[in-house]
Symmetry: C2
Subunit: 146 residues, 2 copies
Amino acid sequence: MSGNPLRFWHHHVGVSVPELDAAIGWYCKVLGFELQRRFPIEAIPAQVAILRNGPLHVELFEVPQAAAASPERGIPDRDVHTHGNKHVAFTVENLTELVEELRRRGADIVWHRQFEFGANAFIRDNSGNLIEFIQGPAPRESFGTL
Amino acid sequence: MSGNPLRFWHHHVGVSVPELDAAIGWYCKVLGFELQRRFPIEAIPAQVAILRNGPLHVELFEVPQAAAASPERGIPDRDVHTHGNKHVAFTVENLTELVEELRRRGADIVWHRQFEFGANAFIRDNSGNLIEFIQGPAPRESFGTL
């Protein structure tokens, strides 16, 4: 074995959205992502877009006739009342500054508040999907190559 | 403004699971995470565990009487037929080696295959939640501090 096979890095979160162009527009305008490429996946079938912001990626899927998400998926404390993969969370060094900037950019801010271990904010993308931001330092410990 | 407020890093993915202890065991045994802390969130209410593997985190929620996930959430090409946040994906430098190691550790391998842009694998955690791995280099471009 050539090293630690369990050394891996975050690549992306997948999000199924009702309108690909609108979602690309929102992630670019509000969260600073750029479109990296678009392609179809015939087996789904879906139109897919990969967006990038530094080392972060989001993979957006538009699937014809996809079912709407349950409204509780847009409410942090309700979403986890159904099992499964839920929100993705990012660390930011200055959460207050980020939330002010996201508000200026028209984001739907669910909350921005202190909790026992620090401060966090939840926002919704233009399709109602939750995204969390946590006040904290940039990661100091990595696997090495970043 | 003291810098780019849209500079943020991946922190975690949230996953709602039926049995917290079993899920902690799986993420530690199979994916090399370690338990960082456990605490309740009374407002949900939930028992929560934060797991860590290098710079990566997973936040597990156990919510009493939570609803089961739809079976299609465990099938990559079906999961995106309902809108919402879906799988999280990680980059790994040697996907074949990782998949072999995960198989030895008892992971439920959905597929490991070539696709147009490279190779990927989907696995399911012990609760049936999808996790994707993509063959690729460690991230070369970051925001700087990693």
